[in-house]
Every structure is written in C-alpha cells, then in structure tokens.
Symmetry: C2
C-alpha cells in the first residue's frame, strides 16, 4: 500500500469514455412518459429540448461512450481531480478505518457540475444550437452551464429562483462573468413566469417555476435548447468521470473501498462516484454503495418508487423514480442542491434492486462533520458535500466501535467558499434541524400522476 | 516540447528545501533598524515577536533551508500546485507567445498565503508558543494563519480592519470556522486600539492600526507571538516553493520562460514565483522578471528606495525598501492585498540592482484582463492576481505585434470566488481607475524617518 496523502493522475489519464450503467442494470429502465399524453416519450418528442447527441446518450445501451476530444480538452482545465487520503481526519476520529475522498471542488465553478455542463454545451454546439436556457436554484448549476456555454461560444439564459437571485449574489456574479444572462424567476420573459407574477407580483419563485420557464423558453425558440444539471441519464453518464478516475486512484493507493459514499440530491454526483464501482459489484466484487441525503428531503429513505413528474409545474416528463411527490416543498436547508423531490431514475432503480443503500442526516450533524473535516483537512466543504462527510464519519466511527478495518471513499463534490453564511448560521446556533416532514410528504404523495403502462 | 495543458507533479516532488536568495544577492542586505532606538535590530530584539526558528531564517545566509517534514505533510493537502499552459487564452489573444501560469488558488484558503502560514505556525509550536496574534485586511492572510494555527493546535487572534470585518463577512467566517478569534480593529483589547477608539469611536480602522494591535498583543503576552503574511525575508523564503515547483514543471513542459511575472503588494507571492528563476539569472541565464503593481499604490514604480517604517504606527522595524511613505493611504482598490506602502526589502534590493522590472496598472484594465482570462481558462482570478494577468497579456500582445515567440510564466496567486462583488462593480462600470496619487505620495515621502548608519 502506498503512503501517499494525495493521489493525482496526469492529464492523459482523463477517461477516454464515460461509463453507461444501463447495460449492467438488473433489468431494463422503466419507460419515460410524456407529461401531456401520458404515453412513452420518443426521441422525437425530446428534440425541441435536447440535441440528438444527448438524446442518444439518454437511451443508449452501449456500456462505454467515447468522450469527444473537444470535451476532454476542457476537462483538462481541472481534471483529473485529486484524491486524498484523509489521514488527519482519521487521526481526529481515532478510527482504524482508512478514509479517502475524491475532490471535485477544484473545477473553476467549484463543484462537479461542469463535468456535464461541458459535454452538454458541446453537443448543443454540434447540433447548431445558438442559445441554451436553463434554471438554477442557488447557482451551482447555473454558473457551470454559463461557463460551458462561454467556452463553446453559445449564449446562455439562466432563470434563477428569485429568492436566491436576491440573497446569493456571488453565484449570480459568476454567471454574469462567464457571459450568461441571468433572470430572476418568475420573470416576464415567459408565459409561465407572467402567469405567476399576475397572481403574485412578489413571488419568491421556486425551482419548479424556474424549470417551467427554461423549458418554455427552449420549446418556443427554434435555436434554443434546454439543459438540466442532474437527474437525467446522460447527466449521470457524464459524471462517471469522477468514479472512473477514483478507481484508478484507489489502485495507485493499492487499496479498494469497502464502502463508496456520495451525497444525493437529484443524483448526479452520487452516480458519478458510484456507478463505476457498481460495475465492479455487478462483476461480483464486494462493495457497499451509500447515498447520503438530507433528513428534511428524504427522497430515497422515505419516498416511494413510482411514476411522477420531474417538476412541480408538470411540464417535465413523468419518470419512475423515488419521489416525495412533485409538489413537495422541502424546508429551506442550506444544502440547496439537495432539495429535489425526486431522484435520478437510474439511482432509483438501483435502490429498488437493493444494490445501493440510502441514509438520511439532519443538517446540524452534517455541519458538525464539515467543521471537523475543515479543521483536520483544511478544505471547506459545500453544505451538500457535508452529507457525504457525515456518512463517512459515521462509517469510520462504526469501524472504530467494532474494532474492524474499513476502507471508505466519499466524493467531496464542491467547496464552500461561497456558502460561508451557512457556517455562520451553524456557529450562531441558528440552524434548524428539520425533522422528517412526514405529514407534508404524505399529502404530496396523494397527488402522484396515474400512469398506465401499455404493453 | 510537451503538448500538455496541465503540468502536475506528484507529492514527492514538493520541494525538500526552500530557496534563500540572500547568498545570491548582488550585495549584503541593508540592516534593519529598531523603530525606537534607530539602531540595528538584533535577533534578541525580535524574540518577543518571533520564535527563534523564524528569526534564524530571517537572517540566514544558507542558500537552501530544509523544509521540516511536519510542514511538508501539510503542504501535501494542496501542493504541488498545478501549472497550466493557457492555450485558450493564447488563442483568444491571437498571440504567438506561449503563456503558462502556476495556480496557487487550490489551497484550502484559496491563495498562496498558507505556504508561509504553515511553517510560521510550525516554528511557533516548536518554540512553545500558545497563541499567535496577527492582523488582516480583507482576510486572505487572516484565514490562512487561522487554518495553520488550527492544524498545529495553536490559538489564533486576528485583528481584522473594521471596515472589512463589517463588509467582507466571508473571510471572517472562514477564520472562525478554522477556530480563530476575530476582532474588529480598532478593538478595546489593546492600548493602541483603545487610544484610537477614544479619539474616534466610529473609526473604520486601517491595516496600520491592526498591525499595531497585533504587535502589542504579542509583545505584552509571554506565550503569544506575532505573525506577518508578507514583506519579511522568511515569508519570501517560504513562498519559494511556488517557483521551485514551477521550474520543475517548465522542464517537464520542455520549455523555459523568457519572462516571469508576479503581482506585487508586500512582495511574498512575487518573491515566491520569481526568486528561484533569479537564481538561474545569477548563474547567467537570460530571464526577465516583472513585478505587476497597482497604479494607485505604485511602490516599485514611483516610490523611493529609502529606510522607512514597516507600519503606519511606527511600531514595526525600519527597513530599507521601496516605499511611498509609511503614512501613505492608498485608494480603496479591490485588490486589497496590494495596498501596502512598502515592498519586501529583498525585492527592493533586486529592483535597485536592476535585476527585476516593475510595471503599474490601473484596476479597470486588470479586471478587463481577468474577465478575458476567466472566459478563456475558466478560473476566476482574485483581484490581486489580475495584475499579473494584465502584465502577461501585455507581454503576449507585444510579442504578437513584434511577431516574435515569447514564453511567459505568471503566478495566479488566488481565486476570486470570495471577491465577486468586485467583478459586479466592474461590470456595473462603477470601478474607479485611480490615477497615480502623486500629491499624496509627495507628502508622505516628506515624513520618512532619518536613519544614520553606524560603521
């Protein structure tokens, strides 16, 4: 075993292909339904929203999909990302466990999101798209798609949830620096936005509304396409560069994880770190895979595996996934990127098949783990990533209690330099540790769509 | 020549020794004078402020000073830092020049400052120091010394200029996360602070006042020492890891710079990137070294090479350096880290000897270069680092105009994720491009101390 603390790869080790998990699933993925007709979506249905290159990836059954050279060239600006052995954290915990983390915060946007933003912009450029419309909550995704569009000479319009637009100016500034037009949503640019503003001129907006605006913008402009930062198969696919590199880095370290952990919101960073290890598992290797989600938005641990709309406004396709109901409104935790009612269909299918586990944590415990981590390892984690840290710390403490060795790998999906207000709130004792919102979930689950599968 | 875009080193290539430029200077450094007696400072004079390990480094004439294993172990969390070939920037400029940049923003604090914070904390720990007192303006240095103290189990008190304490909450939050006590300066903790508050209870503070408070705190507490983030010889020494790694990375790229560029405030990041290349120059190699400073605080281009106080309050030693006068108050540019009236004595001596060049730039042009850089390379530069980018862009455009090849290396000393408000101001057209403050400089230069050198 190597005694390195940081395992790095040279840039020629950026993966040449993305790993598509679909051929290794226990069964074929469930169909995706059109929100209006309730019938299975065809590739042609998706053409107003996505370029054919991405639609093909969404449904591909090829195990390996080559990464275009133009994408790898931009990946080189931050990939391969480093993997660290968290020796100082291990010592602070007094655990016999070995803890490794893959660090995606070195990208220019500070998170894993550019891994998919760049290929999405590329395939759009290839298809002649002039402009991309997308939505963002706190801005992690918006800043990444803005950067990617800038690099391929595409225009970019980001509908940013108004409450974040007003309260989180830093990520808005990043989007503008990278040349995007950022609109507070609801905006007067779309029918969806205008309808909301008419009812409530002071609406703070929501991710659901912002998605509706971006989808309408794309659908009503010939030269404009829509882009989504999580949930979809092709997004999970692009993120597998994380896990592919991590496997190679574990091999350099002369080690292999007993457990692989990612935080889970829509599923993209979790898929990124875990799918390549699930390929090993499919081939017979023993490895546990753990998704760490917020207790206040417990999609995987308390949701149901049913067909549901991808968005609140019921404009997005209906997919079979773990869901809390499309109109469930999660409490305002600081890990804004984990506040999604559903889960990636691929992740959902894996959970349903018992191939992965899920655990939910309250935000106070997650911030406590993040502070412990910062003080030991230096890096300040994004609030989303703190859920993965919390799960890793629990695994390490359990190993200590049981007196067993255990090799833990987690994905540190982003840094928290733009989220320091959340740490302030933690230290001021102002963080609410929202309990499991059972009642709200029960209600929203009553409103799942009825889907009849044809034969 | 390699066609790599990113040149990385494995962690065993972290330098084993720092490079001390003193034996390679054209002559011995000028003595440093005690602010009260006007006589040369002895090592014993410095003991209330610094541990002996650092005092020895301050005056050492050894060319190579081994880096303790405990320091290298922490360096591993971010070192070696990557070097990039800025191919996309070259293309945007249409220049035949090759542009490389060393990127120090990957440290947990987001800048080069931890390179010296860590050894400073280490030597203090070794000497039995319980607590470190320091000052910070916008917080780059304060956050780095806080992190380093946390890692060696030292307490840390940071006197933060009150206007930044109130207006720049993010770096204050980082300091607190890393366990430091952060006080708005002027504070009621010191005589210096109380005296100011008595005159003006609403004082916004200044770096000069904050230095006075930290120095007094250290001098009046047996178990407390003082720490400074720039200017001093041992600080420049620690930062040479930047240039030492960069030389090795240039060799991997099969290239060597015609010109090496660093931004210049107190001199530490400039020294870090350039001193190892000056060693080559001393050995006969042709290489130009350029310091890039703000036009509003033009220490190297418009200052005088004289003895002056290191701080406004005349409590710090008197050193021979390029200075604008110790009570010169620079305009409020966004590159807060470059607002220092003096320059590192080592850098000053090199400039006086004609071994380095200096150029001054207005902040609008620097932000323009930073935006160009962000859109080409992704990374968002700190406002300080934008001065180095501006100088590199000018060099590249000149090469284009002259139709010559030129290899340019600059240090990208930090990222700007915590400085997005400055970019907002740039895009809003609100940035003032302060002219050369000739009158203020002329006045402050009248108040230089009179120093008589004994023989």
């Amino acid at each position: 075993m190597s005694d390195q603390s940081k395992i790095i790869l040279s840039e020629d080790r950026i993966p040449a292909s993305w790993y598509n998990i679909i051929p290794d699933l226990p069964g074929p993925p469930a169909p995706v339904m059109h929100p209006a007709t309730g019938k299975p979506v065809t590739p042609d249905d998706l053409l107003p929203l996505f370029p054919m290159g991405l639609i093909e990836q969404e449904v591909s059954t090829e195990r390996w999909i080559p990464i275009p050279e133009e994408v790898r060239e931009i990946y080189r600006l931050w990939r391969p990302t480093p993997m660290f052995r968290a020796r100082r954290l291990e010592k602070a915990l007094g655990t016999p466990a070995k803890i490794y983390y893959k660090y995606e915060g070195v990208s220019p946007a500070g998170s894993h999101k550019p891994n998919t933003a760049v290929p999405q912009a590329f395939y759009n450029k290839l298809a002649g798209t002039r402009r991309i419309a997308s939505e963002t909550g706190a801005g992690q995704w918006g800043s990444s798609i803005a950067m990617a569009c800038q690099m391929f000479g595409l225009e970019c319009t980001v509908y940013m949830v108004k409450v974040s637009f007003n309260q989180k100016p830093y990520r808005k500034s990043m989007m503008q620096l990278w040349g995007a037009e950022v609109l507070a949503s609801p905006s007067d640019r779309t029918n969806a936005g205008r309808a909301i503003l008419e009812q409530d001129p002071d609406s703070n907006g929501s991710l659901g509304i912002a998605i509706s605006e971006a989808v309408e913008d794309a659908a009503t402009h010939e030269d404009t396409r829509y882009s989504l930062g999580s949930v979809l198969n092709h997004v999970c696919l692009h993120q597998t560069v994380i896990g592919l590199e991590a496997k190679e880095q574990m091999a350099i370290a002369g080690d292999y994880p007993d457990v692989v952990i990612g935080c889970h919101g829509g599923g993209s960073n979790f898929a990124g770190i875990s799918f390549p290890f699930l390929a090993d598992k499919a081939a017979g290797k023993e490895v546990r895979i753990v998704a760490a989600e917020p207790q206040s938005c417990p999609t995987l641990t308390k949701g149901v595996y049913e067909f549901d709309y991808g968005d609140t406004a019921k404009m997005a396709p209906i997919a079979k996934m773990y869901t809390l109901g499309h109109d469930f409104m999660p409490p305002g935790i600081h890990a804004g990127g984990l506040r999604y009612h559903g889960a990636a269909p691929l992740v959902s299918q894996l959970l349903d098949a018992g191939l992965i586990e899920a655990r939910a944590f309250g935000q106070t415990g997650c911030f406590e783990a993040a502070v412990l981590f910062s003080r030991a390892e230096g890096i300040i984690p994004a609030p989303e990533a703190s859920h993965a840290i919390k799960a890793a710390v629990e695994e390490a403490l359990q190993a200590k209690e049981e007196g067993v060795e255990r090799t833990i790998l987690f994905n540190l999906s982003g840094h928290g330099h733009v989220d320091m207000a959340a740490y302030d709130a933690y230290f001021a004792g102002e963080l609410e540790d929202y309990a499991y919102p059972a009642e709200a979930i029960r209600e929203s689950l009553c409103r799942l769509p009825k889907v009849e599968l044809g034969d």
